[in-house]
Symmetry: C2
Subunit: 152 residues, 2 copies
């Protein structure tokens, strides 16, 4: 077995462990910046949908579908940034993020599920269903922000 | 025609113009934060691929495929943040961003094309082709960073 094959085989064998190793080398302040960036972009693409739900900006099915697709990807990005190594960083993340990890994971899953349902609804063309799905996503944002983030 | 239909029709009729209006209400400092967040996440997901190309971390086809998919979405996100309203903000974006807009757009397009080719290569399973595609993406990052961003 040549060295190149060995190296590829090793990476496959390690699987998630490999990813964790690569990830652990990232500095805590960089992890924080990356996870906050994902949240900022979630805000960029969810904000207008919230506006459409409230009626403060006109409903636009095309924008909803595009933003929902973006959110589906963005909703997977912040979580590996909540590494215990970041617990000493100056952020609004509460200690519960690192102690009540099961509940934190549940809140992430509910958010991702709601975003998936919004993506599905946005393909259907039923404005009322889309708006209900936008509202559901908003509630799941609160699932983390209410319990795992310091109030401002 | 009732008011609701009129409003939906109006939004459709305005098309890109509508999006621009919604977007123009965003404060310049928020636009900068959002576009920098997109760049930060491009770095998060391209960084390990660069490491694999250089051989500093082991090649992992699964990670490449996932990150390439993320980059395809992220590569669309920064550009509307380079609004002329942000030209007075303290950032490393050079004035050429707002004056040589055609060349800036070309550089964006080359980056997006290269990312699309990386996505395609990452589905093929040919490590050499994938690594060549990673290198090509890296070069197109330089297309903006060399010409449209202040040197550090």
């Amino acid at each position: 077995m040549n060295k190149k094959l060995l190296s590829a085989g090793l990476a496959l064998a390690l699987g998630a462990g490999y990813a964790l190793t690569a990830f652990s080398q990232v500095k805590p302040e960089v992890l924080v910046k990356q996870r906050q960036s994902a949240m900022t972009l979630q805000g960029k693409y969810f904000g207008p949908l919230g506006g459409m739900l409230k009626g403060s900006i006109p409903y636009n099915a095309q924008v909803v579908a595009r933003n929902a697709g973006y959110l589906e990807v963005l909703s997977r990005m912040p979580w590996d940034g909540f590494d215990p190594s970041t617990s000493g960083q100056k952020t609004r993340a509460l200690p519960a993020v690192y102690t009540d990890t099961a509940k934190f994971k549940e809140a992430q899953d509910r958010f991702q599920t709601a975003v998936g349902q919004l993506v599905a609804a946005s393909k259907g063309g039923d404005e009322a269903a889309v708006k209900a799905a936008i509202g559901d996503v908003g509630k799941t944002c609160g699932g983390c922000h209410d319990n795992f983030r310091e109030k401002q």
